[in-house]
Subunit: 318 residues, 2 copies
């Protein structure tokens, strides 16, 4: 795996370099300063990395891959800038969120500009730009739907595990599916291959999000860069909370009452003893396994790096 | 002209009908209810009408024209929904603005969804979708730049007429330029024709916006559906205010002090007597004339309806 980790580092630094030198006008500063600012955030660049790895699996021209990968990162940043306004999140990628550093109007326009630039990047692809854009924009609309469901689910304590999974597939899975599928679309691969790559990405995304819910309780506070358990403490419905409610809603209420004086240990003990930690890990592993099985279905593909990427996501500590 | 007015009415009602029956999912209601709501607003549909007229001038297939025209209207609505949040405007097209009817989060996501759907419409064009999308998205980024300049100019009393014109060209002209040019791009017309159509639309847009500034003071309050002079009373910089300041800033200040007890008559007298009304009308007419001259340059075009459209915009009362 050490070669693989070097490759990931290399792709990440190339993406960061291209973001840093991304050609943007100076004026209007109201629009382009905050866009440049989002490029400097310390994102993990999972989406552009996935585009590059998926493209390498089909030996796709790296120049086109870079355009597609930057478009996915810009699209992702656009949704984060807008989501942070909606969710009142004040920190993003190690720096103040745009709506805090400037104001909400600036953040709305920054997101809009990022979206438009992402489109222009794809419109400038030398071939099959049309198919690429259609897939990309259908995924984008699904990301909007996912965020809408997330907002609908706030304070709704009747949400089922199934509804939660459908929400995260749209909010996180659809774009990862697009990242995986776009390089194959670019070179005109068949529909079965594209569907399998899309499903690989969607299931990877679901595993990724569930793993996130686990890290929120069982992660390492230092590497996570946030106080653990804060989402659940704030009343957010993570998968584990929904599973706990479906399991025994009285017991969950008692635990949540007990952590009124915030105690991570009480939460950890509760989820471990009730078996929910184990069930959640099992569910995440299930989605990662499904992701792997979709890769197995694809013919004429060099899938080793994508398999390694699943492992990287599955084992990540932050 | 009566045939022409019937044609405009016909196109408008076809656009409204297509918006009303636009295929959208029911769920998530958080996203699609407000999108449907924006479709019911009483917009003038100038942009889609311009697309149809420009397409008719080149005998372009009406089905593709309808897709392009709906995309421009959705794009326009997306920018209005977001601008209304930024500008604290509570009414739009005869109904509450989305951020007032629901809330800001809903309005942000509604705009994002409209933008994505506009893209998908264009991605589904049967041919030259790539060139269409590139032109459309470059215009969209310019609209964002225009809104950014508008925000930068707020409370800046050093703005010149030239800066103002550059702002409205981006904010209003770029999209009208795209509306005029896209049908010719669709059928693969030459670059000179496309540039001339773009310039025709941009100058039409500047004339349109300056005419708007005039209506704000000299329009008919009933047909305008708003109280006249309110923008200037609120301290907004319209072209006439900027011209007045460049002319004699002391005199302008005195007038603005005088209308502290809001008086439309004082404003009207001031702009008329100082000759600014006349200069502004002259400038608007100048841009409409430039728009006409660009149409004259184009070969193999049936330009009569576009000429009529300029006249319609030039003489509109609301």
């Amino acid at each position: 795996m050490s070669d693989f980790h070097e490759l990931i580092q290399f792709i990440r630094s190339e993406v960061n370099r291209d973001l840093k030198r991304f050609p943007l006008p100076e004026s209007p500063a109201y629009l382009y300063n905050p866009i440049r600012y989002t490029f400097r955030g310390s994102g993990k660049r999972f989406r552009p990395i996935l585009v590059h790895l998926s493209g390498r699996a089909f030996h796709v021209d790296p120049d086109s891959l870079m355009k597609i990968s930057l478009a996915t990162e810009l699209l992702h940043n656009f949704t984060l800038v807008h989501d942070d306004i909606m969710d009142h999140d004040d920190l993003r990628h190690g720096q103040k969120a745009v709506h805090k550093k400037w104001d909400e109007s600036t953040a709305i326009l920054t997101g809009d500009g990022l979206f438009a630039i992402a489109q222009i990047l794809l419109n400038n692809l030398p071939e099959r730009s049309n198919n690429i854009c259609r897939f990309f924009n259908e995924a984008t609309l699904e990301v909007c739907e996912g965020q809408a469901l997330d907002k609908e689910f706030e304070n709704d304590i009747t949400i089922s595990v199934e509804q939660y999974l459908s929400m995260i597939e749209k909010k996180t899975g659809a774009l990862l599916g697009a990242c995986a599928a776009l390089p194959a679309i670019l070179i005109g691969r068949d529909k079965d291959t594209i569907d399998a790559l899309d499903q690989f990405g969607r299931n990877l995304g679901k595993g990724f999000q569930i793993h996130d819910d686990l890290l929120e309780i069982y992660g390492d506070a230092d590497t996570m860069g946030k106080s653990l358990g804060s989402d659940i403490y704030a009343g957010k419905q993570t998968l584990m909370v929904i599973m706990a409610r479906e399991n025994d809603s009285r017991e969950l209420s008692e635990m949540l009452n007990e952590v009124n004086n915030y105690s991570l240990e009480v939460m950890q003990n509760y989820f471990t003893k009730s078996g929910i930690e184990k069930d959640t890990k099992k569910m995440a592993r299930g989605f990662f396994d499904i992701a792997r099985s979709y890769l197995e279905k694809i013919e004429k593909i060099d899938r080793s790096e994508l398999i390694n990427f699943i492992e990287l996501v599955e084992k990540r500590k932050n």
